[in-house]
Symmetry: C2
Subunit: 226 residues, 2 copies
Amino acid sequence: MALDNPTTQAAVTTADKVFEQMLHAIVNGTIKAGSKISEPELAKNYQISRSTLREALNRLEKCHLIERKANVGSRVVECSIAGLLEIYVVREALEGMACRQAAMNMTEDEIIEMRAMLKQHASAKALRDGISYYQEEGDLDFHYKVILGSHNQQLINILCGQLYHLVRMYRCQFGMNSPRATKAFDEHSRIIEAIADRDGELAEMLMRRHIAASRQNIEKKIALQQ
Amino acid sequence: MALDNPTTQAAVTTADKVFEQMLHAIVNGTIKAGSKISEPELAKNYQISRSTLREALNRLEKCHLIERKANVGSRVVECSIAGLLEIYVVREALEGMACRQAAMNMTEDEIIEMRAMLKQHASAKALRDGISYYQEEGDLDFHYKVILGSHNQQLINILCGQLYHLVRMYRCQFGMNSPRATKAFDEHSRIIEAIADRDGELAEMLMRRHIAASRQNIEKKIALQQ
DNA sequence: GTTTTAAAAAGTGTCGACAATTATGGCGTT
DNA sequence: AACGCCATAATTGTCGACACTTTTTAAAAC
């Protein structure tokens, strides 16, 4: 499935399942950002013991979705504009480098797969009502594939394993369906071509601009609102 | 203290203390890389219950120092050349960006502090026998300060909170006292000047070259050994 | 002798209870 | 009425025991 994370393995233990449930709940705001987490209450809700719940909380903490203070408890992270911009800065650096590495390390098969995916996005875009699909899951798909294409486990872990949960949380809660759909599609195309040409330097530059453009788009929006 | 991490708060709970002990043990190789972790055995060694130990293991997992598989157990991460190079790639991207942000966001006081630190390193270097100090803790100090100077919490968390434990582990276990001491000192100086000039673009480029040079130094060494 | 199967041992996951710490609320004082 | 203090309640941290999985061991079948 598109929104499933490439790094997470199937949830076998109950703590895993509760983690996934809470993950979705936090991402889509059912568990409110900034709210305090009551261990006894949640354990009762999910019908599990506190030990199991705490195991799930530890994984949420690994994704930086909750923060814990000793002897005080856990809170869901706040969603602030400043925090969002911070994430964009990190993404610009990491995904830019991932793109450079992808240009060096992607297999021909992976490149073919990416081109096929983009073609599919293009037809979905033509359908017009498919635009929202493209923006949400399609965009994530594209970025995932580039990151995986870097073949760098550290990059993959940081980006897919933790940062992207936060990205999805912000997208959900800020309702970000930016009007950059068409533009973003063209940018994706050029990035793939740079990767296919094995031009790491260009690929990195294009990806950085692509992400920086999204960030500046948000900065502009904020400036207008004030 | 130099090697203490700026992001970790004082260890109050026993799980915290065990985490710190195990952290040091893993970093310096007392607990061998790649070895399996027996919960019952370690719990007995540290004279704590398995619950508390597992809490400590969760924090080690957050730093990517151990890896867990469901119903199987934990292993200390392996130290491979490939893994080391992967980390350098991530550092080049993240610390480069951190340096750019530092040029934008550092306060004048922080810049003064950095210059003072570098002056101290210079005198230590002049002492000759201080060289090892400069290389080990001094180098980490410099990089820490730049990262903190970015004022970007996400960057700080990823770099100081998790990646740098791995870096220290590799330094310890591979015994890396690279002969780049003098060169590195000059590079540090130029980076600080770029930050002081508020030239983010140059600062990022210099930091990336600085880290890339270290990586290439290792690649060269490896090539010679083979 | 090798492979398959089954039982036993060891290890991890989960639970409920107790201990230690922090938050709450009422009381008295200023 | 506002502030500080103490007792109580609630929450988090830790413990030991049990349930379930995986691994090991040994026997049985081929």
